[in-house]
Structures are given as C-alpha cells and as structure tokens.
C-alpha cells in the first residue's frame, strides 16, 4: 500500500474515532435508553414467568385433587337397593294367598258367583 494512500486511511480512521468521540453524559444517556427499552421486556418476561408458574401450580393442584381427592376412587355410581330374591318370592306368595282366587282363574270365578 503506497504511503499517501496509507496516510489517507489513517486520517479516515482518526476522523471516525473523533466523530464517534462523545462525552460521558452521552454514553450514560445511551445506557439509560437501552435500559428503558429493555424494562418492558423484563416486565413482560416476569409476567409470563408468573403466569406460567400459576398455570403449573393450578395443574398440579388439579392433578392432586383428581388423584387423592374425595372422588379419587372412580366415578360415583348411584346405589341400587339390593332385593333378596327369597324375600321377593315370599312377598309374591303372600299376595297370592290373600287373593280368594288365583289371578289366572279370576274369570272362571265369575261363573260360580
């Protein structure tokens, strides 16, 4: 690289450095501006984290209730009263005995009375 061209490049570099030279107040303002732009993102990040944590907690509680809560042993089935077949038979016999005629012969009974 020839000397003159090299000189121009050095001058250009010095020129850039001078143009970029700022006082401390500028750098401080720039950092503040960056912080201010990042703050909502931080806030949003925290909100998202809280939301996620709340959702996970709610899921855990729901899971716990499903597994160990009052309804944990299967769905409740309406209870049907069990009837003893013997008792049912006795009841039917008692009804039949109480009748003057067996119900199947009731039409024939009309002929005699």
């Amino acid at each position: 690289m020839d000397r003159l061209f090299d000189h121009d490049l050095r001058r250009f570099a010095d020129n850039v450095r001078l143009a970029a030279d700022r006082d401390d107040a500028f750098w401080h303002r720039q950092r503040e501006a960056i912080s201010l732009r990042l703050e909502p993102r931080q806030q949003r990040h925290k909100t998202l984290a809280w939301t996620a944590a709340s959702a996970v907690t709610a899921l855990l509680v729901a899971g716990f209730l499903v597994l160990f809560g009052p309804g944990a042993h299967g769905p409740s089935v309406p209870q049907v009263a069990e009837v003893d077949p013997d008792d049912q038979l006795i009841a039917e016999i008692e009804v039949a005995v109480a009748q003057e005629l067996p119900s199947a012969l009731e039409p024939a009974g009309d002929l005699f009375w």
Binding site: R37, E39, R41
Partner: protein
C-alpha cells in the same frame, strides 16, 4: 420509569444466558463505545448510529441465550451490529425517508478533519486532507455492507483478519476478498 443501575462487572467467561438485567447493563458499558464507533463508520449519520447501537444491545439482550462461548462477547456484539446495519439499509422505507429527511451537517459543529490535522500544517494541505477524508467517507458509505464492515474493522478497529472473519461469520479468505474489493474501489474513487 427509571433505568436499572449498573451494579456488576461482566467478564468474558460469564454465561450470557445467566446474565441478569444489571449484569447486562455492565456489559453495555464495556462495549458501547466500540459498537457505536463501528456503526457510525458504517452509517455515518450520528442519530442512526445511536439508534442502531441501542438496537444492537436490545437484540443482544433478547438473544443472550444464543450466545456461545466460542467467541468473545465483543465479537458476538460486532456480528449483531453488522446485521443491524444490514437490516437497516435493507429497509425500503428507511431509504425513502433518508432521501427526504437527511439533515445537512451542522455548519457550526467543529470539523473533525481540522481537529485531526496538524495545527501547524498549511491551510492548503488541511483543505486537501478534508477533501480526501470527505471523499473517503462518501466512498466507504457506498461500499456493500460486508465490504464496509471488513474495511472498518480492519482500518478503524485495527482487528486481525481472523478476528474480522470471526465477527463476520465467514472465512479469512472471504474477508481478504472484501477488503481487496473495498480498497480497489477506494483507490479508484479517491484522488
């Protein structure tokens, strides 16, 4: 809303993913001048340079988990900055408005070329130096983003070819090629 104060010093060894807000601020303090200088050399406009420097750090914070320790934080930030400049220039809207609202340089502001020039030098040489530097700025501004990045990192930041390749995410040979093309253009355009 107040800015979060800077409290800690970040070392290159720290894991970026674990960086909290205050640590990040400290990292900004350590690198903002270099990133701002690089961007200013590439876009020339001080307001754009300030905005893009902010964008670079905001982007870095958002993507801090993607930082790999294979490179230094400065190298990683340099890469983000170059991408920010590239995206900025790709924006059609920006190009449109650039033509309409570009402010002329403040005539009362001190001329950096005069500040750099030797006080004892004769006025004709200062004038010539200013012309050449102005022309250089203009020629550099018209280089492609990658040529401009390679040129600035080499001649302003004085980085090694390997470091430039690392920052640009390419091979050393590619950096050499960008530099050769940039220098050829500058030689052709600058008297």
């Amino acid at each position: 809303m107040s800015a979060v104060p800077i409290q800690m010093t970040v070392t290159e060894d720290e894991d970026m993913a674990d960086l909290d807000f205050a640590d990040f601020n400290s990292m900004v303090r350590a690198h903002q001048k270099q990133i701002h200088r690089l961007i200013l050399a590439m876009v020339r406009d001080p307001d754009d340079a300030d905005a893009l420097t902010q964008d670079t750090f905001v982007k870095a914070f958002e993507h801090r988990k993607s930082f790999r320790k294979e490179s230094a934080i400065g190298t990683w930030l340099t890469r983000i900055a170059i991408n920010q400049v590239r995206d900025h220039e790709r924006s059609r809207r920006w190009r449109f408005w650039q033509g309409l609202v570009r402010k002329p340089r403040d005539s009362n502001a001190p001329d950096p070329v005069e500040k750099v020039a030797d006080k004892a030098a004769d006025p004709a040489r200062i004038l010539e130096a200013r012309d050449n530097t102005e022309t250089l700025w203009a020629v550099v501004a018209n280089l492609s983003v990658r040529q401009r990045a390679a040129f600035t990192l080499r001649f302003v930041e004085e980085m090694s070819l390997e470091a430039i390749a690392n920052a640009m995410g390419c091979e050393v040979g590619t950096v050499k090629s960008h530099l050769a093309r940039a220098l050829a253009t500058i030689r052709r355009e600058v008297p």
